[in-house]
Subunit: 305 residues, 4 copies
Amino acid sequence: MNNWHLTTFGESHDTAIGGVIEGCPSGLRIDQQLIKDDLARRATGKTSSASQRRESDEVEFLSGLLDGVTLGTPIAFLVRNTDAHPEDYAALKDTYRPSHADYTYQAKYGIRDWRGGGRASARTMLPYVVAGAIAKQLLAEQGIKITAVVKSIGGETEPKRIEALLAECRSKGDSVGGIVHGSITGLPAGLGEPLDDKFQACLAKAMFTIPAVKGFEYGDGFAMAGMKGSQANDPIIVNEDGTVKFLSNHSGGVQGGITNGEEVFFNVAFKPIPTIGRGDRHDVCALPRATVIVEAMAALTVIRF
Amino acid sequence: MNNWHLTTFGESHDTAIGGVIEGCPSGLRIDQQLIKDDLARRATGKTSSASQRRESDEVEFLSGLLDGVTLGTPIAFLVRNTDAHPEDYAALKDTYRPSHADYTYQAKYGIRDWRGGGRASARTMLPYVVAGAIAKQLLAEQGIKITAVVKSIGGETEPKRIEALLAECRSKGDSVGGIVHGSITGLPAGLGEPLDDKFQACLAKAMFTIPAVKGFEYGDGFAMAGMKGSQANDPIIVNEDGTVKFLSNHSGGVQGGITNGEEVFFNVAFKPIPTIGRGDRHDVCALPRATVIVEAMAALTVIRF
Amino acid sequence: MNNWHLTTFGESHDTAIGGVIEGCPSGLRIDQQLIKDDLARRATGKTSSASQRRESDEVEFLSGLLDGVTLGTPIAFLVRNTDAHPEDYAALKDTYRPSHADYTYQAKYGIRDWRGGGRASARTMLPYVVAGAIAKQLLAEQGIKITAVVKSIGGETEPKRIEALLAECRSKGDSVGGIVHGSITGLPAGLGEPLDDKFQACLAKAMFTIPAVKGFEYGDGFAMAGMKGSQANDPIIVNEDGTVKFLSNHSGGVQGGITNGEEVFFNVAFKPIPTIGRGDRHDVCALPRATVIVEAMAALTVIRF
Amino acid sequence: MNNWHLTTFGESHDTAIGGVIEGCPSGLRIDQQLIKDDLARRATGKTSSASQRRESDEVEFLSGLLDGVTLGTPIAFLVRNTDAHPEDYAALKDTYRPSHADYTYQAKYGIRDWRGGGRASARTMLPYVVAGAIAKQLLAEQGIKITAVVKSIGGETEPKRIEALLAECRSKGDSVGGIVHGSITGLPAGLGEPLDDKFQACLAKAMFTIPAVKGFEYGDGFAMAGMKGSQANDPIIVNEDGTVKFLSNHSGGVQGGITNGEEVFFNVAFKPIPTIGRGDRHDVCALPRATVIVEAMAALTVIRF
């Protein structure tokens, strides 16, 4: 399925945000409910820490479908920005907010859309979530399952402590970072290229496309830098029928850039949201909303191999 | 210079290894000494921990040059594998070594070059080092400097302790991982794309192309997952002449996928070399030889923006 | 400007047709009138031979603009299919029309949009016309001018004879082919790549993207196959100031795949429209409506160099 | 097989010329004789009109093979320029030859390899011939056959008249153009993309990559511009078993950019070789040597679908 290509467009507070999927196979009946569920996860994270901005996030499909079934031609879709209040941002027109992309966009383009971050807004992840939901549906048919969960927030891993930390941040107008743990199971052995498109390299690139991501590791990751080879190696046994069995999975399901059929697991580090000192429309933490985005980016990586 | 493209080829113990650089600007007098120096760093790491395999690593340029000056056309080069002893590996023909790519290549291709790892050998990094040296020369002319150093080996950061650890590994036939710290200075603001080719995403992809890399972080990286926004933000001041000044650089020189003119710094985690239990031709640690590879991959990333 | 990329989407009789332009420079105030004029040329050809289908062809821009000025981010646009009468085509659901793409789409995808040709309709050229108008505006600012005119229809070159031929075809329910002549002036010398992206090769590929195109030639084209070198060569004189002057232009403005600063001129051959035996909603000839499409495809080629 | 990608390199009179094939399937035993035969056709055209330059054209494979069988990794190969006499060209160092690429290279790069045309030499087609021979071998295994023959030289189609015309050109130090006819049979229906990578568009682009090509047409080509729809249409009959039968093939095997399973046939127009007034080392006509290049470019197009 390596013709799959997603083109996205849209600013946070302009007319609409959306995408065009090329290379999606024909004959797939797209399950709209899966898309709606993932958009709800992105919009609310299903927790009280989520943003107060409430878009209806209604997806309109423009092409590539006949009676809900994919034609094999480009699938275009859009979501209108119904809850856009650009006037809220007028004061930002002449300011570079700390750790936002205001200055870098100005430096690159000589112009920028100051309304809510424009193209730098986390809302630009929405088309990836829509396309990711379709990719996950296709992959599920092949037995490939992708999940992402919150591993820690502000260094805390216990739900109770996390809630307390988020409440504290909210009351102080502060924000906090966190780590998302991702998992891909059911992958066949043999996906990935020896050098320029290693499986893990494409996965890493996809994760760093998400705003606020500062680190990525897979398998035992950074911990392996402190290990000895005798601790880190994954013994492999060849069964009588020629199949193989791995006795451990420090490698995280990939060797030499190519999947070995074991679980691919990884961690993604998010920095704190840079908007602080305001309690109204903004998130205290990118997590757990980011989990569905991590899943989408992983699915959009796997679907291309 | 975004037409730059490097194609590489070669197995570890076949005839030759090399590459073709497309899109290199015309009119550059290539400094062959810079290439030789970097190849020496890759071959020996300048330390006693380095591999005993000693290739002459003589680069032959086949095209793209007139009297040593680039023509703008493809620059092809190769290094012959003069020290290849494929017979040393004959025993590996029917074995899958633990945490090597033997099994995954077999699964992907149904055939594999069992002689010294074939295309999965770390020797395949050699063409990247050659092209990286040329890229670094071009970038240096623009005031962009790229350096990489060993940050830690097996968790140790003191040279004396590192030497002791390496000696211990050598005596026990074991290996050990480590972390390389990279730095890019002199970058203009404005490099990188808002979403699909963020500066850090391309850099991450390049680093995960290197064998044995398990983690990548930039700026304050994973530590930011434990920070609050009030700690992590980088205040920006606009000077009277319109230029800007950042009061800190937790972000690592990039905001919204685009460079802001500050130093880009990052860490790359290497797992221990999987070949253990043999003291002869193999490394105890991929570091410090890997530092020049990290520099090359960084240069090959920057040169495309 | 070689980051310019156009992605298009849409079926003839589904919700909408449109495109996403990536890599358009920031700071351009798009002249909407130029787009409207070109869409009118595509819709009517300004002559009585044009199709009776009358779309309002209202372009909606969704992203990439702030107060009508390009931001440098993706520019998405769409045109709704307001005059779609899919029920007119219900009879075609189970038929393969001669010299249409009905069968080939079915063979490729196992499914097809039978409503008015779906993705194979000439209406899919509409997004190229929109993007082409923007590209022509950008090129005009650099002094590059692109025009296309009808050279012949059914072998006739005299307007009076052409009108008579078209009238005859209309009365008999037949159709007829023709040739469009294109011209690009004001090009700098030096555009194009030596081999894989020769200027003329990219231009040819663009022209064959247009439905019904069966032939392309540039410079003296097929006639040169019958010439001697002594007739076909273009002498070049170096002026005292180092500039050059060509004494003829059989080459058509390109040598070795690279423009030489002279006019690039070319012919594009269109087969007759395959829909015959019906006098109602369909064209008798793709020309002159196709001239604006030829201009758009030429502009979209030049803009990428 | 759409990962196939050929990168080529080399100047006419520098060290070597060659290429790297990526994406060739593993497990193919390359038939070296097929490559030798095609190189001989390129070098001599098997007729007396061919160039007097006699390279041994010995291909050296550097990677991607184990005991002559493809590994699935990049296949690099080169041919050394053993018969290079750059000193013959020293007089051309400061001259722009008419209808050569001397001036355009200088304009693009500010430097050029004046030795025998450098990268603009027809000798740069050699790597395409090598890769094309491998592609033809792979396609033949799928029943796809590609052939190209001389259709006319200087407008003549009779062998006797052609010989006389070539003799005349040789005696006068002139050159002459011609047309090559190509044919692809055994193609399955369904190859090609609806718009941006139409089968015929990719084929056209490939042909215009060949030096001296000025025109391309497929099916009934330019003649269709003078036809009526009632003459040009290809009726299609659906057999009882669901297969189809075409009653004619004016379309040339493609509809809507996608193959229909019929023969794809096409014509390629070559201008006269621009080097005239010299009887020694140069061709009088690019044909028939060009036929094997046309075959190679067609094979390299088909292999990517």
